[in-house]
């Protein structure tokens, strides 16, 4: 397993990070999509502490009547944290689009829903003059378990260097309700989907393998020698390699002496 985190210290660092980023943009308001799951709950709790609950708008964006308990848990959490929140059903947009594409796979439909939620969040962020907070954790980012330009899209991401198992620890410290913490993780792309079922590994095993490969800088054989199934390690390595594109801006074909992305290099956080 990745090492235990000192949750109060992590909270302090992440709250300061959120405050600094918002102060630099002279922006008081934050928005995020609240799914009823663990990651967005933790992000909401951090945002409420950093910005004040009145400055956080949580959008709950179900597809029709799917996942009613998630909608209930998300609304309950928003009320508990004192966040402004709103429920927006994305079924009309999704159904209109797929009406003429009835054979679309459930993966295509799920990805379209993730991008629809992104589109609503960005529209509302313009209306509110706010920034979108990202909720992708390190485990997801490393294996590419997220929809590019969907749930991965955000202005800042406070959670991206915490493995899923570490997000659970932080959730306990932030007093996220047990109903959310103990829920089976799902991307909610279709009913019955679970992360661990789809990835084929428990988060505990996945995070342990990732930690060995990433922080430990170990090779495949060294991680297998720690007692992991070779097939599991190979699968994780394949997932990391196949998702590299999700962790970059697209490459720009270089032609000139100084090009965006190659040698026109400025910090994100410039001030003054």
């Amino acid at each position: 397993m990745p090492p235990r985190i000192d949750a109060p210290f992590v909270e302090k660092v992440l709250v300061a990070f959120i405050r600094d980023e918002f102060a630099r943009c002279r922006c008081a308001k934050g928005l995020l999509g609240l799914s009823g799951g663990l990651d967005s709950a933790v992000c909401a709790a951090l945002a409420a502490r950093a910005l004040g609950p009145d400055n956080v708008l949580a959008l709950i964006m179900p597809y029709g009547k799917a996942f009613p308990e998630d909608v209930r848990d998300a609304a309950g959490l928003a009320r508990r944290l004192g966040l402004r929140h709103e429920t927006i059903d994305i079924a009309p947009q999704i159904d209109a689009y797929f009406a003429s594409r009835p054979k679309a796979s459930r993966l295509r439909r799920g990805n379209k829903m993730a991008r629809e939620r992104m589109s609503v969040l960005y529209d509302r962020s313009a209306a509110e003059g706010g920034l979108v907070l990202g909720t992708s954790n390190k485990t997801e980012l490393l294996i590419g378990y997220g929809t590019i330009y969907g749930d991965m899209a955000c202005a800042i991401n406070p959670m991206g260097d915490l493995y899923k198992t570490q997000v659970r620890e932080l959730a306990r410290h932030l007093r996220v309700p047990a109903a959310i913490r103990e829920k089976t993780p799902t991307a909610g792309l279709w009913p019955g989907q679970t992360d661990e079922g789809e990835i084929g590994l428990s988060y505990e095993e996945l995070d342990t393998i990732l930690y060995g490969l990433v922080e430990g800088r170990k090779g495949r054989d060294a991680v297998v020698a720690e007692g992991h199934r070779p097939a599991a390690v190979d699968r994780v390595i394949r997932l990391i390699r196949r998702s590299e594109f999700k962790r970059h801006l697209p490459p720009i074909a270089k032609l000139s002496a100084r090009s965006v992305g190659h040698d026109f290099l400025y910090p994100y956080d410039r001030e003054g």
Binding site: D6, A16, F17, P267, D269, G272
Partner: protein, 284 residues
């Protein structure tokens, strides 16, 4: 003697605002009777500069913004971190530390070890310094280092061999590792070196780090002072801004060197000859 460690969060790329902040802290430290104020690495510019380096560079002997800070050191001393472009090194930009005292520029150190790996890319944007040179400060002999310089112990050794009473390291050290306690794991690395260098150099070690965040990176704070006996005399907050004022007794250097004879028995000529042989062999 009183030392103030100005553990600030500079504004990235905003020299004017950082100059004002430095002037404010100098005034405050003066009211607290500090005789030396230590600001962090690149405190006048922020750290994650990339292509901003040449936009924020200053000639410490001629830039009016820098001269305001020099003038504000009447009656005290300060170490400030900035990007240097000197008239003799036009087009060369250094990550630099200036020692100012009583309204004069006494010494400039240019960072020698520019970390360029993983999250660090200093050698992409800065020219490399080529020397460690101790100098006479108002309170005794001092040596300057910048951040990674300090983690290469040969750098401190040069100052020690030159007879420095005080080794001052200014830093913009990012925090990594959140496994325990109220500090980043990497803070321990700096304290370990600080304690060891102070103890075996029988000199004061003053480490001034910064705080704040830039592009997702949090700077770890935790500035400190170790005495020549290896005892920690002051410890600033981790992660949070601080202005830590600490009293030191310069006579402790004599006291430590009387009791522990490392300095008396040091043989820099043997080290030098041995190093020379190693360097020659590496070049062959």
């Amino acid at each position: 003697m009183k030392i103030a460690l100005a553990q600030i969060a500079p504004r990235l790329g905003d020299v004017e605002a950082n100059v004002e902040a430095h002037l404010g802290i100098l005034a405050k430290a003066r009211r607290q009777k500090a005789e030396l104020v230590v600001f962090p690495e690149l405190g006048l510019t922020g750290y994650t500069l990339k292509d901003l380096v040449e936009e924020v560079a200053m000639d410490p002997a001629g830039d009016p913004r820098f001269l305001r800070i020099v003038a504000a050191t009447k009656g005290l001393a300060a170490v400030v971190g900035f990007v240097e472009e000197s008239p003799s090194g036009r087009g060369l930009f250094h990550n630099a530390a200036a020692f100012l005292a009583d309204g004069r520029l006494l010494h400039v150190h240019r960072k020698v070890f520019l970390p360029t790996n993983g999250m660090f890319e200093e050698a992409k944007f800065f020219a490399q310094g080529r020397e460690f040179r101790a100098f006479e400060a108002p309170f005794g002999r001092a040596g300057l280092l910048i951040c990674r310089d300090f983690l290469h112990y040969g750098a401190s050794y040069v100052h020690y061999a030159a007879g420095a009473d005080m080794i001052i390291c200014i830093s913009a050290a990012p925090g990594r590792g959140v496994e325990g306690g109220d500090a980043f794991g990497t803070s321990r690395m700096w304290e370990l070196m600080g304690e060891a260098v102070a103890y075996f150099s029988t000199a004061f070690v003053v480490y001034g780090n910064r705080v704040g965040t830039e592009d997702g990176v949090t700077f770890a704070g935790g500035s400190f002072v170790f005495g020549p006996g290896g005892r920690r005399l002051a410890q600033a907050a981790y992660v949070d801004p601080d202005l830590l004022v600490c009293r030191i007794d310069l006579a402790d250097v004599r006291e430590a060197r009387r009791k522990r004879l490392f300095k008396r028995d040091e043989k820099p000529e043997v080290v030098w000859r041995s190093l020379e042989r190693i360097v020659r062999a590496a070049e062959d």
